[in-house]
């Protein structure tokens, strides 16, 4: 027999996940991971790190998006962070460690 508290627990648990069932919105912080065809493997590591951190820190309004190359292949993966109402910040040659730091600085 479920109680209403158990239902609330389901809502809390799915809070972050549910944000990924909707299109990215104006109030979301966007993390765009940009990479070229050759950079798929490196970029994926970075994306996975972001996702793990978001889940761990329960960052409801942070969305990770993948995007194409920014034509500066040597700097890739490039990560562009856009916090609503602020200027986009670009990070170059991001690896999983750097990714964790980027997440830690959001909020």
């Amino acid at each position: 027999m479920k109680s209403t508290a158990e239902l609330q627990a389901i809502r809390d648990k799915l809070e972050v996940e549910k944000g990924y069932s909707c299109a990215v919105g104006e109030n979301d912080t966007k993390i765009a991971v940009c990479f070229d065809d050759d950079g798929v493997a490196a970029a994926r590591e970075v994306v996975r790190t972001f996702m793990n951190e978001i889940e761990k820190r329960r960052l409801v309004n942070v969305k990770v998006l993948q995007s194409g190359s920014k034509a500066k292949v040597d700097d890739e993966p490039i990560v562009e962070v856009t916090v609503p109402g602020k200027k986009t910040v670009r990070h170059t040659k991001v690896d999983p460690d750097k990714a964790s730091q980027i997440i830690a600085n959001i909020k």
């Binding site: 027999m1 479920k2 109680s3 209403t4 239902l7 389901i10 809502r11 799915l14 809070e15 972050v16 996940e17 549910k18 944000g19 990924y20 069932s21 909707c22 299109a23 990215v24 979301d28 991971v33 940009c34 990479f35 065809d37 798929v40 994926r44 994306v47 996975r48 972001f50 996702m51 793990n52 978001i54 889940e55 969305k63 990770v64 998006l65 993948q66 995007s67 194409g68």
Partner: protein, 603 residues
């Protein structure tokens, strides 16, 4: 791990028929092949609404909205978009912003004028997973009712919201609930009418397929408000997917202890069961539906007594339709003022329409009440295909009437539609262009009601049959001007004397076409012509001898050997042209569809 992309494949009936299940399986395979399966959530959702462009696949949080997705397209979506982050532009629809970029889906003409309350979860959640419904505030409204509100205040809130029944007649829902509440009895029932028999309407089906829990929750709320512990959902057997999803939802809710003796530990009992219809349109009528649930022939009975006092098995019963229920949880959570802020003064909220017929964007749309027909057809619907002219829209199915092009700026709400001789009905909206004959349409609806009349009362059983015969006579070119007057008289008689809603509304399509398209009737009667070129008996197929190249394809297709060679060879052609013998012609149209040179036309 938190999935970085959610792929939603439409599992509505339109898309499923377009093979979306195979698309889903292909995604499963390709995602695994590319090694990204664990990074992606893949689900089948309810209807997105844009059935004309199905199968639809949406990818979030990017918001990419892929259309006409075929199994062969899946590889590209996975390898380009999911793996490399590059959207497959060729599948994204043709709408562009001023700067030439793909328009976000919520800004496209089809979606931007819509307001999705009832359909809020369709295309967003997996209807077969109760957790997702719960995550989007599911069962919160029920909790609020039981914890913070008395049954009386729940009913008051529904009354204050101005919600009216979405099944057709528009009776105030709160009032219905109050009558049941006031009827004192040890057992009461909550019934949901999902017998969506109106041809061309599939709103309720889409809600049941896309968001079944919203109906369950609303019925629980109704149960709490009027003091009922048992619910029944009466669904058409023609809707197997809806039945299956609803059954899954009921089973999951039971397993969670949401349905059952002590719902969510809040101290109230409610349980429910599905009853299947068996193909009888009249069972959409309240008393007939009740008899059918009881296991009898679905024949209507006299009202009063009303169901609120004397319904299922003689007990007080609340009967609402699917769309009405689907509004309830949102009204409870957001309050009556929020609901009233949408729509018009006497018709609050939104209405879901199934847009069909001669329109570009066939599908399911939800609009605030008071939206004009022009907005629905020209903007949301994307206009009429093939450059044809809009002639009329038909609402309310066999019970409704038509809205002619001259009234295209009518704001759609209950009272306006009644005033112009149409009705809201359950929400089928069929668009007709210049190629549709209004007499033929009236005949089509009458044929339907004659077939579906249960036969219990004479005005409906015999009156509608006579009405149909008169219409048939007219389409055969044998009608007289007196027939038109007789028809009008008979219509009024049937409306006034039939036992139930089916008979009382059956003449509406005839009356409304007579009112707005009398010219067309007169053309059939006096000139023996069908202006739209539909009524077979009144048209002839002719070959334009200047265009005919004499290939003889038409003659080979003709089942009646009615086509032969002439002696005439048109300038620039080598063979003599063909001709049709009108005596032999059976007017099947095979010749016209075969001719590649546009030489055959019907007149």
């Amino acid at each position: 791990m938190l999935e970085r992309a959610h792929i939603m494949v439409c599992g509505g009936t339109g898309c499923t028929s377009g093979n979306s299940r195979k698309v889903l399986e292909e995604f499963e395979r390709k995602l695994t092949e590319h090694g990204v399966r664990d990074e992606v959530k893949l689900i089948m959702t309810g209807c997105f609404g844009l059935c004309a462009r199905g199968p639809i696949v949406a990818v979030y949080p990017d918001g990419a909205f892929y259309q006409h997705v075929k199994v062969e397209d899946v590889e590209e979506i996975v390898s380009e978009h999911i793996v490399k982050g590059r959207q497959v532009t060729r599948l994204l629809g043709s709408e562009r912003t001023e700067s030439g970029e793909v328009m976000p889906i919520n800004q496209t003409p089809f979606y931007r004028s819509q307001k999705r309350i009832v359909l809020r979860n369709c295309g967003r959640i997996n209807p077969e997973n109760i957790d997702e419904y719960i995550a989007f505030d599911g069962y919160k409204a029920y909790e609020k009712c039981v914890k913070e509100m008395t049954p009386e205040s729940v009913i008051q809130l529904v009354t204050d919201s101005g919600l009216r029944g979405r099944g057709g007649a528009g009776f105030p829902t709160g009032k219905k609930w109050l009558s049941s509440y006031n009827a004192k009895d040890d057992q009461k029932y909550i019934v949901c009418n999902a017998d969506e028999g109106d041809p061309g309407a599939f709103m309720d089906r889409s809600v049941l397929e896309g968001d079944p829990h919203s109906v369950i929750e609303a019925m629980m709320i109704a149960g709490y408000a009027v003091g009922a512990t048992q619910g029944y959902v009466y669904v058409r057997a023609e809707y197997p997917i809806a039945v299956q999803r609803l059954q899954i939802a009921i089973d999951q809710a039971r397993a969670y202890g949401i349905l059952g003796k002590n719902a969510m530990g809040l101290g109230h009992a409610f349980d429910m069961e599905i009853r299947l219809g068996a193909g009888a349109f009249v069972c959409g009528e309240a008393t007939a539906l009740i008899h059918s649930i009881e296991g009898h022939r679905g024949e209507p009975t006299q009202k009063p007594p009303h169901l609120a006092e004397h319904g299922l098995w003689g007990k007080p019963t609340v009967l609402n339709n699917v769309e009405t229920y689907a509004n309830i949880p949102q009204i409870i959570l957001n309050g009556p003022e929020w609901f009233k802020s949408m729509g018009t003064e006497k018709s609050a909220g939104t209405k879901v329409f199934a847009l069909g017929g001669k329109i570009m964007n066939t599908g399911l749309v939800e609009i605030p009440m008071g939206t004009t027909l022009r907005t629905i057809i020209e903007e949301i619907g994307g206009g009429i295909p093939n450059g044809k002219k809009f002639k009329a829209a038909q609402t309310g199915g066999p019970s409704g009437g038509c809205i002619p092009a001259s009234l295209i700026d009518t704001p759609i709400d209950y009272d306006n539609l009644i005033a112009i001789g149409a009705m809201m009905g359950s929400g089928g909206l069929i668009v007709m262009d210049e190629d549709n004959c209004m007499v033929d349409i009236a005949k089509f609806f009458l044929e339907f009601t004659v077939d579906e009349s249960c036969g219990k009362c004479t005005p409906c059983r015999i009156g509608n049959k006579r009405l149909y015969e008169m219409l048939d006579k007219i389409t055969q070119g044998k009608g007289t001007m007196e027939d038109l007057d007789k028809m009008e008289e008979l219509c009024k008689y049937i409306k006034a004397n039939s036992l139930c809603g089916l008979g009382q509304t059956a003449p509406n399509p005839v009356l409304s076409t007579l009112k707005y398209f009398r010219d067309e009737y007169i053309a059939h009667v006096r000139d023996k012509k069908c202006p739209a070129g539909v009524c077979k008996a009144l048209l002839n197929y002719v070959i334009d001898k200047e265009k005919c190249i004499g290939c003889g394809m038409c003659a080979r297709q003709c089942p009646a050997s009615a086509i032969s060679k002439t002696d005439y060879v048109a300038p620039g052609h080598k063979l003599p042209s063909m001709q049709i013998d009108p005596e032999k012609c059976v007017k099947c149209g095979a010749c016209m569809s075969t001719c590649k040179f546009g030489a055959i036309s019907k007149k």
